[in-house]
């Protein structure tokens, strides 16, 4: 089985389980955030991705980090993926799950990175604005990323809208470098 097929298979299975439990939106969001956190944390990748670390210890780490922050179903699904030795593929599985779930409703995923958590009303306005700009129905996946500093960075497919303070500082740095 190829890696793509494996990722597809796990994403489909998680989708069905979450839908059966009627927690697809919540599980999808939580998995998406966990995946981004996994991508941004070197230590987490080293611990969960190291085959020499016993599975019990990995599950203990997951429970400590996520136990009270996510739903029990999400925690179980993450533990299931990590127990299968696929921790390094967790971000890809979460992305595929989000794409599948959005595709079922005719939407595309819009990843939005901000330095602070956004409330639902802001997320809805953002989804509407992105839909007008791209001409597509979008499902916003919000990720807290302190490196943004301020503002937001939105990515819809290959399209990136960068309205972050970090980008403005980078622009300023480039102008000063000339």
């Amino acid at each position: 089985m190829t890696a793509e097929a494996r990722i597809d298979g796990y994403a489909a299975a998680i989708l069905e389980v979450a839908r059966g439990e009627e927690q697809l939106d919540r599980v999808g969001d939580e998995l998406y955030r966990i995946a981004r956190a996994f991508e941004s944390s070197v230590e987490l990748r080293e611990v969960l991705g190291d085959p020499r670390v016993p599975a019990d210890r990995k599950l203990g780490v997951i429970d400590d980090l996520l136990g009270e922050r996510v739903s029990p179903l999400t925690l179980n699904l993450v533990s299931f993926v990590v127990s299968a030795g696929l921790a390094v593929e967790l971000p890809a599985i979460a992305d595929r799950l989000a794409e599948r779930a959005a595709a079922e409703t005719g939407k595309v995923i819009a990843e939005v990175r901000t330095a602070v958590d956004l409330d639902q009303e802001t997320l809805d306005r953002l989804a509407e604005a992105l839909a007008r700009a791209t001409g597509k129905r979008v499902e916003v996946k919000s990720v807290v990323d302190p490196s943004v500093i301020g503002g937001l960075v939105a990515r819809v497919g290959d399209t990136v809208i960068d309205g972050s303070v970090k980008r403005r500082l980078d622009d300023l740095r480039q102008q000063l470098s000339r």
């Binding site: 604005a129 007008r132 503002g151 937001l152 939105a154 399209t159 809208i161 309205g163 980008r167 300023l172």
Partner: protein
């Protein structure tokens, strides 16, 4: 001559008379005739037999002397020629030596000039490289200082922004960005910021 003298003495002894006066000086006529005849015989013998021999000897001697003189002249001429050749060779040798010395001096001057020019060129090249390195190092240093100052300034600005931007400010910026996004019209693969 010996014969003539012997005859005179013999005749004188044979007379047995002691001459006196002028007779002491004047010979007797017979003695004189005998003497003349004897002299003539001796003279003729000498003239006939000795003279040619003497003449041949003198000629031979003269020829020998003439030959020796000729040889001497030839030798002298040859010596003169050799001396002239020697002088010419010596003059040529001196000229050649002078030419070689002059050529060597010119070559030495050329080598010296070349070495001097080469040394000056190398020194100039080293100075140029040193100047370039100094200039490049100065520029690198200035650029490095500029980069450090820029990074420091931006780091300070970034920290200041992080400290001063509270949640309300964050949300205000986000709201502003959302409004801007709503006014965009994006191509499928475009990027807008």
């Amino acid at each position: 001559m010996l014969n003539l003298f012997a005859q005179v003495v013999y005749l004188a002894a044979a007379e047995g008379e002691e001459p006196e006066g002028i007779d002491l000086v004047l010979p007797e006529i017979n003695e004189l005739i005998g003497g003349v005849i004897a002299f003539a015989v001796v003279f003729a013998a000498v003239w006939i037999w000795a003279r040619p021999a003497i003449r041949r000897a003198l000629e031979t001697r003269q020829q020998a002397i003439a030959g020796q003189l000729e040889h001497a002249e030839e030798a002298k001429a040859e010596a003169q020629s050799l001396l002239e050749d020697y002088r010419q060779q010596l003059a040529r040798a001196r000229e050649e030596a002078n030419r070689i010395v002059e050529q060597a001096r010119h070559q030495a001057e050329g080598v010296r000039a070349d070495l001097l020019a080469k040394a000056e060129a190398e020194a100039a090249e080293r100075r140029r490289r040193a100047d370039e390195e100094i200039s490049a190092e100065r520029e690198r240093l200035a650029a490095s200082l500029q980069d450090q100052f820029r990074d420091f300034s931006l780091e300070v600005a970034q920290r200041a922004v992080r400290q001063t931007i509270d949640r309300d400010a964050q949300l205000a910026i986000i709201d502003s960005t959302i409004s801007e996004i709503g006014g965009l019209s994006l191509s499928p693969d475009g990027e807008r910021s």
